[in-house]
């Protein structure tokens, strides 16, 4: 499935400064692997040694937090938009 991925500033050095990239994957987990193929090093930034998303990384599929969907197993379809966003404070 071809999806658009928005890349946060701290990772744009790995994507040649691109803020948005395209990738093909069936699930979020696949997507992280696919991104890592195209932009080596991305996975170790956003995932821990066990391969799970780090606790301060938020991933959104079409504006919804994947922790309200199927977490890393959340399926993707053509045209989906994924955002990787660091945790943000405020109030």
């Amino acid at each position: 499935m071809a999806v658009k991925v928005r890349i946060p500033t701290p990772l744009q050095k790995l994507t040649q400064e691109k803020a948005e990239v395209e990738a093909t994957a069936k699930t979020i987990k696949d997507l992280i692997e696919a991104l890592n193929q195209s932009y080596p090093g991305i996975k170790e930034r956003i995932c821990d040694e066990q391969g799970n998303l780090r606790r301060f990384v938020n991933v959104f599929l079409n504006e919804e937090d994947i922790r309200f969907l199927g977490k890393e197993k959340t399926p993707l379809k053509d045209g989906d938009e994924v955002s990787i966003v660091p945790a943000i404070a405020g109030g």
Binding site: P8, R45, D65, S83, V85, I88, G90, G91
Partner: protein, 417 residues
């Protein structure tokens, strides 16, 4: 000159220059300001602080500026009210209200963080500032930004209290209502922040902004006569304030300004948005984000960025957590108002209600000292209590009407004289 060494990742300890960045490139941990504590120890004394201005800037050595502050000259240094009547109600000995419901100029503790954030934003050369807010931050950025002559973009959820919307609009920023909850606003803001070169106070200015909350803790310690209380009960939204009160206490300890800190910090959250309290009470490893549903809108953050750090401070300090229902929040607001003459917003109702519960449950011993953190003003959340208050009595402009309608209805035993 300041004492800032740079920024440091709270997760992996990597260090960075003190720029407009907020997240570690390697592990996504948040960045925190790191100071030269050896140099601070030589310079900072109780006398030096006490002879400073009556604002949060009396602690400027411990705040992350290189030059002089330029914003928020009158913010902070709010009253620490000895609350004997409320103590009596709760059956405890020594109770204080740290009252930021009267913080200048927008009546919440956000005036502290914004004083620091906008002073830093100006130092970093920004001419435009922005924030995502549940209301109080919107008020503070709009007001302080007007004073500082900065352009402002303020992003809020569409369903905020009218008083918080009006209390932002009056300062004429660009106010943008987003059709979503605060967590949606925050995600959108972070995407905007990645694209536009603005000083986003809770995003790329966050390491500096968050330091402003330490002054809430500094003031508690100084106003108690250079000591910390046995307990602090603190409202939690993102978890930053609770974490920074602790950091403030520990910095004073490190600099030898107070004895060793033996304070327990307790987390207060509303039912309907209690991801941090739930994690503390259940002992879970991970925060489970929630979709908030509460009248305490200033605490309605379902995905709290500093939740893990707040949990760690609570555990390290021997504290616990409590949760208040909407009805308990209303009762908490009225209890504080009727005992101490302080009108707090819904977040304060949560804190008072949770303090009461912790005393009743024996988590706070009755012979110990307690500070309740009151962070905002009740005039901003009037809708929440309107229906639970008694009505005003209406009469004709005559003595007869007064005596027949009012005196006749006063219960016997009450004295009107």
């Amino acid at each position: 000159m300041g004492f800032v060494k740079g920024l440091k990742c709270r997760e992996c300890g990597r260090t960075y220059k003190a720029e407009a960045i907020y997240v570690c490139e390697f592990c996504f941990g948040s960045l925190e300001v790191d100071y030269d504590y050896d140099a601070l120890k030589k310079k900072v004394t109780r006398q030096r602080i006490a002879s400073g201005p009556s604002s949060l800037w009396r602690y400027r050595d411990l705040l992350p500026l290189d030059g002089e502050p330029t914003v928020g000259f009158y913010s902070g240094f709010t009253p620490l009210v000895k609350a004997d009547r409320l103590a009596n109600e709760l059956g405890i000995r020594e109770l204080y209200i740290k009252d930021d419901s009267v913080c200048h100029p927008t009546l919440s503790f956000k005036d502290r963080v914004v004083a620091v954030a906008l002073s830093k934003a100006k130092e970093l050369g920004f001419d435009t500032v922005a924030c995502a807010s549940t209301g109080n931050l919107a008020n503070a950025v709009s007001a302080h930004g007007a004073w500082a002559g900065l352009k402002r973009y303020i992003f809020i959820p569409y369903d905020l209290e009218q008083a918080k919307v009006l209390g932002t609009l009056v300062f004429a920023p660009n106010l943008i209502m987003v059709r979503g909850n605060y967590d949606d606003v925050n995600r959108l803001s972070s995407e905007i922040a990645a694209k536009y070169h603005w000083g986003f106070v809770n995003i790329n200015i966050r390491p500096y902004y968050a330091e402003g909350s330490k002054t809430f803790g500094f003031e508690i310690a100084e106003q108690l006569g250079w000591r910390t209380p046995d307990h602090v009960v603190c409202p939690v939204a993102s978890g930053s304030l609770l974490t920074k009160i602790w950091k403030g206490f520990k910095e004073f300890e490190k600099l030898g300004l107070i004895d060793s800190v033996k304070t327990s910090l307790h987390c207060a959250q509303p039912e309907g948005c209690s991801p941090v309290a739930d994690m503390i009470l259940s002992g879970a490893d991970a925060i489970r984000p929630v979709k908030p549903k509460t009248i305490a809108k200033s605490l309605a953050i379902g995905n709290p960025a500093d939740g893990y750090y707040a949990r760690d401070v609570v555990a390290q300090s021997g504290g616990t957590a409590g949760i208040a229902s909407d009805d308990e929040i209303r009762e908490g607001i009225q209890l504080l108002a009727q005992a101490e003459g302080i009108f707090t917003e819904t977040a304060g109702g949560v804190t008072v209600a949770v303090a009461k519960k912790l005393v009743e449950a024996g988590k706070i011993a009755k012979n110990q000292s307690i500070v309740i953190a009151i962070t905002g003003n009740g005039l901003k959340t009037q809708d929440a209590v309107q229906s639970s208050l008694q009505k005003a009595l209406e009469i004709e402009p005559s003595l007869k009407s007064f005596e027949s309608k009012i005196l006749a209805s006063v219960p016997s035993g009450s004295s009107i004289k």
